[in-house]
């Protein structure tokens, strides 16, 4: 018998490897689906969503200096503007669970999110999506 030469235990690591692969494949399926996030309140984003996903931190960093140092208000890319539009409809926040917009994506991408150590994670009460600069475009 051809198989007779193999020790009986060799089947176990093979099985374990197959199971692991299966698990990774299932995980990859869930990852490919992306995080499920709260929908934005209304209207298009200030930039193309693809661009925002990749570069929102750069936009925010640029405009924060414009606002803090030069007094340009409202900035097109303002963190408060993000929060106003992307806040959860129930609690008005962008943090709290993996369904909340900012936290959900950052935990999916495993990127530390420290904006909200200082900034409010709650939408401004009077602010509607239409009042967010650029959102109407």
């Amino acid at each position: 018998m051809a198989m007779a030469g193999f020790p009986r235990g060799s089947l176990r690591p093979a099985l374990a490897a197959a199971l692991l692969l299966g698990a990774v494949a299932a995980g990859a399926g869930a990852l490919a689906a992306g995080p499920s996030l709260d929908p934005a309140r209304a209207g298009p984003c200030v930039e193309d969503p693809k661009l925002m996903r990749r570069s929102h931190m750069d936009f925010l960093k640029h405009d924060r200096d414009d606002t803090v140092r030069r007094g340009i208000r409202p900035a097109k890319h303002s963190l408060a503007g993000c929060v106003d539009c992307h806040a959860n409809a129930k609690d008005g926040r962008v943090l709290g669970s993996d369904g909340h917009f900012c936290q959900g994506c950052h935990s999916y991408a495993a990127v530390k999110l420290d904006c909200f150590d200082c900034h409010a994670a709650t939408a401004r009460p009077a602010q509607t999506a239409s009042a967010v600069p650029g959102a109407a475009r």
């Binding site: 924060r64 200096d65 414009d66 803090v68 140092r69 030069r70 007094g71 340009i72 208000r73 409202p74 408060a80 929060v83 150590d117 200082c118 900034h119 409010a120 709650t122 939408a123 401004r124």
Partner: protein, 243 residues
């Protein structure tokens, strides 16, 4: 006319021509700042300032402090180390018994010592004279707190909660009165000024020190006012009457 006087006249005439366009002999057209349009940067033509009238400020009234705390989401200061952007100071002349009450906050100096000493550039003066801390670059060294002659700055020792969307603040940074910059940029006035007016005292006046037609400039031109520690020549944007 003696030649020296003539030269002086010519020189002064030239200087006046540089300072503003003469539309008629003795009548000048100056370019004064208009209200800032949304999205416009702060203009150097403006210098925001305040005039505190100690003759109107009521002893025991704390409305400006409360309004400031509410506006900026500051917890009420209970310990010496808690953040305090504005405080009421009571002075008493022991000989005459005359008591003076006045709020003291960041004096928004034209030559701010806090900006001079900041090692990271986090402490800065805006074009329109408002002195601020950029918390993104503040490392919390507190050198500015040492340098400030008015004890106007606070360090945030504890984690913060309940921040206002317009006023981010967090542990490990130095902060002080911002002259309600988020409201001023939208054409508003600082909360302490509004609270004082609402209380019926109108002891704090806010306005553009560079515009001679502004209420604050006309008041400063007509009554005696002083800057705190004027000997330091920091040229404060906050002035006091009746000290």
């Amino acid at each position: 006319m003696n030649p020296v006087d003539k030269r002086r006249r010519e020189f002064l005439g030239g200087a006046a021509a540089l300072a503003g366009a003469m539309i008629a002999p003795g009548v000048f057209l100056y370019d004064y700042a208009q209200a800032k349009a949304p999205g416009e940067p702060a203009s150097g033509k403006v210098r925001w300032g305040m005039l505190v009238d100690t003759t109107k400020c009521e002893s025991g009234c704390n409305d400006c402090v409360v309004a400031c705390n509410t506006e900026h989401g500051l917890p009420e200061a209970t310990r010496a180390t808690d953040a305090q952007w504005i405080r009421k100071v009571e002075l008493k002349d022991l000989r005459s018994g005359k008591a003076i009450s006045a709020p003291v906050m960041c004096q928004h100096c034209a030559e701010p010592p806090c900006v001079d000493v900041c090692p990271t550039g986090a402490s800065f003066k805006r074009e329109d004279g408002i002195v601020l801390v950029d918390r993104h670059t503040c490392i919390g060294c507190r050198y500015c707190m040492m340098a400030c002659p008015y004890n106007a700055r606070s360090f945030v020792h504890e984690p913060t909660t309940g921040q206002k969307p317009d006023v981010p603040r967090g542990k490990g940074c130095v902060e002080s009165c911002t002259l309600c910059v988020h409201k001023v940029d939208r054409g508003g006035t600082p909360s302490c000024v509004e609270a004082c007016a609402a209380a019926g005292h109108e002891a704090i006046l806010f306005g553009d020190l560079n515009d001679p037609q502004s209420e604050i400039s006309r008041r400063i031109a007509s009554v005696a006012t002083t800057q705190l520690r004027a000997d330091l020549r920091t040229d404060n944007g906050v002035r006091y009457r009746g000290l």
